[in-house]
């Protein structure tokens, strides 16, 4: 019986019905990230989890064996701030229009923080996932198996989720939720308050102070019999839920500003942007705040006037941005990469290579793309390395991950194998 099982499983796989529940990749180069590299090792996956990783494993007879000679196995890559699998921002606001118990969004321009403008903090990425998003396949093709996805429109945009980048149903894809609250400093979006950066910052401070008061008032109401009930406010509920707050901080001055804001409001900050992190290492070390580096490195606008000379300050900013990763790694500070403005997932490895060329050790780059990102979101026990018991998210290549000619052969998400679509030459040339 046991002997025929692999055959049945193979048949099932061929029919696309049920994936094999146990797979072993044998004799491959294994890069677990959490431990030393195994030059000829085996990794066994079962029921969506990693069952074993080692050099001299003999997998159980029911395991479907893949010969891994010439292949390298890495943990699946994680995009540390993404919108893959989420609808475009416009539909995030249409989710807003669904009748909800709270006050409807004000039609008139907001006059002050009490109107809660640009606040959709109750939105949860986990509720918005669209498993049919075409970008999920593209992302897997680039070696990404997980992402921290966030709604991003508005100042208090909403709650993120760590998701796996494959699944039949949205709920199956979620690894952890809520993963944090996404904040931006965008002003002047609805012609009302806040119309300036100082207004936005004052608004953020007021909102978190309101959240603190809201919590205290709700708690007092639970304890007290005769007390006027405090009003329910979904915009503030979202602020109370979040385990961490993502704050925009690209320039050194912005990093400084956001760290001060987080300290004042007693938030657990995760900074995103980070292109001048190399100039703010001291502040970052003192705070211990993780940095998410945008892989869309600053570059000259292709649309720009060819006669316009860029200033030294701008040239230096562009030149040094990719060295931020190396600076953070040297200082031993937590950081990860995110897709940011990089439109095509397959360009992401090239962008990471830029950071490597600017001094980042390849091992540190790999860690930032896997275990480092998982640790920032508190899911390093589930994702980010090849260790028994972790989710079977893997990327299998035919060489070093950061070599340009290296091809991604397979990715595994929750133990399910995917083969990247072959790029047509026309597409590659684009």
């Amino acid at each position: 019986m046991k002997r025929v099982l692999p055959a049945i499983l193979a048949l099932a796989a061929a029919l696309g019905a049920e994936p094999p529940s146990a797979i072993a990749i044998r004799g491959a180069r294994i890069v677990p990230v959490s431990g030393p590299v195994l030059e000829r090792g085996t990794v066994v996956l079962r029921d969506g989890l990693i069952e074993a990783v080692g050099e001299n494993l003999s997998p159980a007879p029911d395991v479907w064996i893949m010969e891994g000679k010439g292949l390298t196995v890495y943990p699946g890559l994680i995009d540390a701030l993404s919108s893959w699998g989420l609808p475009a921002p416009a539909s995030a606001s249409s989710a807003n229009r669904i009748p909800q118990a709270g006050a409807p969004p004000p039609a008139a321009p907001a006059k002050g923080p009490e109107d809660r403008p640009s606040n959709t903090s109750w939105l949860r990425a986990a509720d918005l996932i669209q498993p049919s998003d075409r970008r999920l396949e593209e992302a897997r093709g680039a070696g990404f198996t997980s992402a921290a996805v966030f709604p991003t429109s508005g100042i208090f945009a909403g709650q993120g989720a760590v998701i796996n980048l494959a699944g039949d149903r949205a709920g199956e894809m979620v690894v952890a939720t809520p993963a944090g609250l996404y904040l931006s400093l965008r002003s002047g979006m609805n012609a009302g308050f806040p119309g300036s950066l100082m207004g936005v910052i004052a608004y953020i401070r007021q909102s978190f102070l309101d959240a603190g008061h809201y919590r205290a008032a709700q708690a007092a109401y639970q304890r007290t019999a005769a007390m006027k009930r405090p009003a329910y406010d979904r915009a503030v509920e979202g602020l109370l839920d979040c385990p961490r707050v993502l704050l925009p901080a690209g320039r050194a001055a912005e990093i400084d500003r956001m760290l001060r804001l987080a300290a004042e409001l007693n938030l657990k900050p995760v900074l995103y942007g980070g292109h001048e992190a190399h100039r703010a290492i001291g502040r970052l070390r003192a705070s211990g705040a993780p940095v998410l580096l945008n892989l869309k490195w600053p570059e000259r606008d292709r649309e720009a006037d060819p006669e316009q000379k860029d200033s030294l300050q701008v040239l230096e900013f562009r030149d040094k941005a990719p060295s931020s990763a190396a600076a953070l790694a040297r200082a031993g500070l937590p950081f990860a990469f995110y897709s940011g403005g990089v439109e095509r997932p397959r360009d992401l490895r090239k962008a990471v290579k830029k950071a490597i060329d600017a001094g980042l050790a390849p091992a540190d780059a790999l860690k930032a793309l896997t275990l480092g990102a998982a640790a920032i979101y508190g899911v390093s026990g589930r994702l980010g390395s090849l260790e028994p018991g972790k989710i079977a998210n893997l990327v299998v290549t035919d060489g070093d991950l950061f070599e340009e000619k290296t091809k991604i052969r397979y990715v595994f998400v929750d133990g399910v194998k995917f083969e990247p679509a072959v790029e047509t030459p026309g597409e590659a040339a684009r």
Binding site: E303, A304, E307, S311, V314
Partner: protein, 420 residues
């Protein structure tokens, strides 16, 4: 003695031309066109300079002003302003600089000048006796006038009613850069707009040329068009074109246009000249310098880029004149020149660029711009070097008539000085 003085006072108005006839004695004369004369005499009769020298004869009965410790210079010419066209820039009702449309050569700034503008006495107090008042806006903005800063009407102020045709070279106004205002078009789109504007400009010149030929040929059914009429002196080289061009691309475009259309070009306000300075020199194009007291154009330019530019252009052999490009700022023109002198422009050239060069560029050097026999007596009398900030203008003469130096700034100064 007192009776004699009284008699003279009564007779004075009866003497022919007494208001614009006088002699300055014992004064240092700085003719600009010639070496200075210490303790000299300058004789003005009927508004014109009759004689000057160490011992020029003073006709009998002429009013004599003792110039001990004083200096006399030709009056300063500000080679581009909006004086009389704009009173308070923030109050649209007082601004008459700009007409709707891209091509308005028929507009004459002179007739729009407000002779009662408060800026006129303020500007005069700095030793400025005449200015170019130019319209702005669109591509061809209209005709700039050279006017005296004195007169009850614009007719009395007039020197050259059509001193130049004002042209603003279009620029590519693209967005996209950091800090650029929102809503600006992409570079590609902005460049298409720009090229369209340039094509329209060439078409306009071409149409004006055809109009002229039809007019000369006495074509049947010929219809007078004021726009094209105004272009005739430009096409015939009688009136120069002042092209406002800051960046190198605009300067190149102005030079190209002048070559194609065979027009007399004057460049106004170029600030990015490295790549074009040779060509400006080769074609003998005069340059109207913009204000020097401005930050450098590009972030990485040396801090003194705006200060050294006049000296560099001079060394390249280019004829220069200073302009304030302003209304309320015109009074600072001598200081703008002084900074250029401190940063490499030879002193005499600084003075010339305020006086004689300007007169030459505007085609009035036979009448104005220096202290020479036969020229109009536009004079400033100072207690020192006009390029020194502390120097005071003691007298100002326009066509030999003393001009009141009182002005709003002085009145405000007196008012607040008297505050208990």
């Amino acid at each position: 003695m007192r009776a004699a003085a009284l008699l003279f006072a009564c007779l004075a108005p009866l003497l022919a031309g007494s208001e614009d006839s006088f002699a300055l004695r014992n004064i240092t004369i700085h003719p600009v066109s010639a070496p200075e004369i210490a303790a000299g005499t300058l004789v003005v009769v009927d508004g014109r300079i009759a004689a000057l020298g160490a011992s020029a004869a003073v006709p009998r009965g002429l009013r004599v002003i003792d110039g001990k410790g004083l200096h006399v210079y030709p009056g300063i010419i500000d080679s581009l302003t909006q004086i009389g066209l704009s009173e308070i820039s923030a109050v649209p009702a007082t601004v008459d600089t700009t007409e709707v449309g891209d091509f308005n050569p028929q507009l004459r700034a002179e007739i729009a000048i407000n002779p009662a503008s408060e800026h006129i006495p303020v500007t005069r107090a700095a030793g400025i006796t005449s200015v170019i008042a130019g319209p702005m806006g669109g591509i061809i903005s209209g005709q700039a006038a050279l006017v005296h800063l004195d007169g009850w009407t614009w007719e009395e102020m007039d020197i050259r009613r059509s001193a130049a045709m004002m042209l603003t070279i279009p620029v590519i106004q693209a967005g996209g850069g950091r800090g650029s205002p929102p809503g600006r078009p992409s570079f590609a789109e902005a460049r298409r707009n720009y090229e369209k504007k340039l094509a329209e400009l060439r078409d306009f010149f071409e149409a004006a040329r055809r109009y002229r030929q039809a007019r000369l040929a006495g074509q049947a059914g010929f219809k007078t068009d004021l726009k094209f009429e105004a272009m005739l002196p430009v096409l015939e080289g009688k009136v120069p074109v002042v092209a406002r061009a800051t960046r190198e691309r605009a300067v190149r475009e102005a030079l190209k246009l002048a070559g194609e259309q065979k027009i007399r070009l004057i460049l106004a306000g170029p600030r990015e000249v490295e790549g074009v300075v040779k060509e400006i020199r080769e074609h003998n194009i005069p340059v109207i310098l913009g204000p020097t007291h401005v930050p450098p154009l590009n972030e990485d330019d040396p801090y003194d880029r705006s200060f050294t530019l006049p000296g560099e252009l001079y060394k390249a052999g280019i004829k220069l004149a200073f302009a304030s490009f302003s209304t309320s700022g015109a009074r600072n023109l001598p200081e703008q020149a002084a900074t250029a002198v401190a940063y490499g422009l030879p002193y005499q050239e600084g003075l010339k660029a305020l006086t004689l060069n300007a007169a030459e560029i505007w085609g009035v050097a036979s009448e104005y711009g220096s202290i020479a026999k036969g020229k109009w007596a536009d004079l400033m009398v100072t207690d020192g070097d006009p390029l020194e900030t502390r120097t005071q203008v003691k007298h100002l003469f326009i066509k030999g008539r003393a001009v009141d130096l009182d002005n709003k700034h002085r009145r405000l100064y007196q008012k607040y000085l008297a505050r208990p």
